[in-house]
């Protein structure tokens, strides 16, 4: 097959890679993108999008079941509730399929050439792609590595049979009666909660003393309380040791050193993700690393000239929107523009019930960095819109510099707070002060009023509390 020679080669069409390629195409760069699977990467195919579809379906079904039980505060009752999981999965696959097609169409519109197949580096500027019709060599002036990450496998619990990763959990044909989730981070809790709402008996096993260990206790408390209400069992300080001899249960060692057997139809292991580096010739390039990740500078350059890396392969936070911003930046740099990573924050969301959203610094982080701070927190129990939606759990919290009132961080926990992430990030990027948040009219009645009220509270004159 004839060699392809191009200006920019992007390896991996996940959110980082495809955004990079689209932007490069818009800027008139001769761009090729290589992808072994369907376009959209982990996020679109086995991550953000399908999990949010499943979570939403579970949410709806859970609410309906509650109506059945007569516990609905608004007086709605139903006679029967059932779910056809096969249709749910087909509906989810439909959404994924539409978005796959959307990404392909956007790439084509930007005149990006898509090569389907697995890429292997021959050298820093040349890859071999095993396509269906034979070996395709692509040679480029500049290469962007965007190969992403994959679920970490535990040596004691390899992925096979009833031990599954998040990927398989999103395509189960049958609802597990008893599901054990190993790892109480955001992926495990999001999926564990969804399965509990769909009707599974769910146990979460977390090695640390707190679920969602990266968040502070105030943000986690409403989530932990809701897990209890939903009937999820949470074992903290517990280690998964492996399947029992008959394979029907998970052996767990609790903090007191005792071993327990948890019966399980499925064991979902969500203990983190690791960069996809091996098997693609990246290792042989001898690029500098930071731990297991490729080391990059503020322009996403690796230690090899003309080789960039973006997304999960460059480390935490492993978030689609970080990868997208990196991808866009790299495309503009390759096109000769002056760009560098100067973002002040990367918002992060945990789609548990209730949701958690964070942007910028938590109070502890701000103090640790030497700031004298003011903190304002406003509960949704004092917010009218939250009451009308029967979900008053949670709060909005703002962290600001004590001297200038500059907003350093915004966090919230509560139903639907993920949509607040936009105003949180905007406030921090724009360098807003508490007075800016307090002085902006927030429409009534909405949950967003809690943002304004939290700022007012930090200034010492909240109105509605």
């Amino acid at each position: 097959m004839k060699e392809i020679v191009c200006k920019l080669l992007v390896i991996g069409a996940g959110p980082g890679g495809y955004v990079c390629a689209i932007r490069a195409g818009q800027l008139g760069l001769d761009t090729v993108i290589v992808e072994a699977g369907k376009p959209g990467g982990t996020c679109l195919n086995v991550g953000c999008i399908p999990s949010k579809a499943l979570i939403h379906a579970a949410e709806e079904f859970g609410a309906t079941r509650q109506m059945l039980a007569g516990k609905n505060a608004m007086g709605i009752r139903v006679e029967a509730a059932s779910i056809d999981l096969a249709r749910t999965i087909a509906w989810k696959d439909g959404i994924v399929g539409r978005l796959n097609g959307g990404v392909s169409a956007l790439l084509q519109k930007a005149r990006v050439k898509i090569v389907h197949g697995r890429a292997t580096f021959r050298d820093g500027k040349t890859v071999e792609v095993e396509t269906e019709v034979g070996m395709q060599v692509v040679r480029a002036e500049t290469v962007v590595i965007a190969t992403g990450s994959e679920p970490v496998e535990l040596a004691a619990l390899p992925f096979r049979g009833r031990v599954i990763s998040s990927t398989e959990a999103l395509s189960l044909a049958e609802l597990p009666k008893k599901l054990v989730v190993v790892g109480g981070g955001y992926i495990g809790l999001e999926l564990g909660t969804a399965f509990a709402k769909l009707g599974s008996e769910v146990t979460v096993v977390e090695a640390m003393e707190q679920i969602l260990p990266q968040y502070d206790a105030d943000l986690v408390r409403p989530v932990a309380r809701r897990l209890g209400e939903l009937g999820l069992r949470v074992l903290t300080g517990a280690k998964a040791k492996g399947l029992s001899d008959d394979g029907n249960a998970l052996a767990v060692e609790t903090s007191d050193g005792q071993e327990h057997l948890l019966p399980a139809d499925r064991v979902l292991v969500t203990v983190g993700r690791r960069p996809k580096i091996s098997g693609s010739g990246i290792e042989e390039l001898d690029l500098d690393r930071t731990g297991p990740y490729l080391r990059i500078d503020d322009r996403c350059r690796t230690s090899m000239r003309g080789v960039y890396a973006i997304g999960d392969i460059t480390g935490e936070p492993m978030l689609a929107h970080r990868a997208m911003a990196q991808g866009e930046m790299v495309a503009e740099i390759v096109a000769g523009k002056q760009r560098a990573w100067d973002k002040r924050c990367i918002p992060a969301i945990c789609f548990t019930d209730p949701e958690i959203v964070t942007a910028g610094l938590s109070p502890e982080e701000a103090r640790a960095q030497g700031y004298a701070i003011r903190v304002g927190q406003f509960p949704f129990s004092a917010n009218g819109r939250a009451m009308t939606m029967v979900s008053e759990e949670g709060f909005v919290r703002v962290v600001a510099r004590a001297d200038t009132g500059l907003v350093l961080g915004l966090q919230a926990v509560g139903a639907g707070v993920s949509e607040l992430s936009a105003s949180f990030a905007l406030a921090i990027e724009m360098g807003a002060r508490l007075e800016d948040l307090a002085g902006t009219i927030h429409a009534h009645p909405t949950r967003s009023e809690a943002v304004q009220e939290a700022a007012l509270k930090a200034l010492g004159h909240a109105l509605h509390i």
Partner: protein
Amino acid sequence: MGEFTIKMPDVGEGVAEAELVEWHVKAGDPVKEDMVIAAVMTDKATVEIPSPVTGTVVWLGAEIGDKIAVKAPLVRIETGDGETTGDVKAPPAEAPAKATDSPPPAVETDTRPVTKAASVLRHEAPAPAEKPLASPSVRLFARESGVDLRQLKGSGPAGRILRDDVELFIARGEVPSQPVAIAKRTSTEEIKLTGLRRRIAEKMSLSTSRIPHITYVEEVDMTALEELRATMNRDRKPEQPKLTVLPFLMRAIVKAVAEQPNVNATFDDDKGILTRHGGVHIGIAAQTPAGLVVPVVKNAEARGIWDCATEMGRLADAARAGTATRDELSGSTITISSLGALGGIVSTPVINHPEVAIVGVNKIAVRPAWDGTQFVPRKMMNLSSSFDHRIIDGWDAATFVQRVRVLLETPALIFIEG
């Protein structure tokens, strides 16, 4: 209120004085027990000095770059109790034990004002490593205009830099409107060499002024070795490190110096004595954030490939972290210099005095080679090696490098014993 004097500790190794390389505090600063107040550097290792007491710094006894004798007063700290003098013991972890002897209530009451002072100070000081405060659009405008926002003071609320600030900055001519590359620059900056940098400078002057260097460059076909290395890396056990070219080179050097013992030697030119070494102690020139250091893989002749790699990795980590001991940084009998991916085509390595040879590794590149009928792509690497010409004749230097070349090109030979 008492005053506590911290004296220059005995840092061991029979060192009588050490160079002050860093102050972590200044006069007026509050210090807590166990907090690092200064760093001093002996021949090769850097030692951090912690405060054994809580209090406020009232006097600093030296400036950065000064050499301080052991037992000389270093810092005076105003404390709550009556203790007036103290020696910091060399292993810093032991030092605080003494200070905790003071009755806890007294410490409690007396430290309160200090803590208060700390929060006031913190309030005034600009927050650490802060990014310039500007909206994304202003950041973009500045970047495209070649303005470094760190040079600006913002006129907006909370010191926010506005677009007007950037435009004013440009209009005042503080930024060349032309591309930065063709602007004239007239500023100069004087930097006093201290610590490791000064030591490197001294060592390099010594080596180049005393040793007449001869440098010999030869190219090596690394194709077979690279295949072997890839296979070994693929099949390695989880606890085994990833192999670079260096462990192979180390083993090849071990073999080659066995035939030419003059190369693995140190030369005392004052006395006119050449000492040949039975053990092959290979220094590996390593870049650290502070500069060049040379950790030493001891007795490479008694180590296998994997062992060489493990030891080298351990030493490189220790050197970068600044925790390498004096012993780990001295005693080499021959040195390897490698810049990895930055290896270039040819280099002229400087011999690590009093050794007589240094082997420089240049980068591997695929180059066309004539195999008799056609050009074939081969992975080629140059070795640029320098020798002390007083000891090693050109003929001997060439013989040595050629032997190393043969070993690397037929890597099985590296593994054959006897």
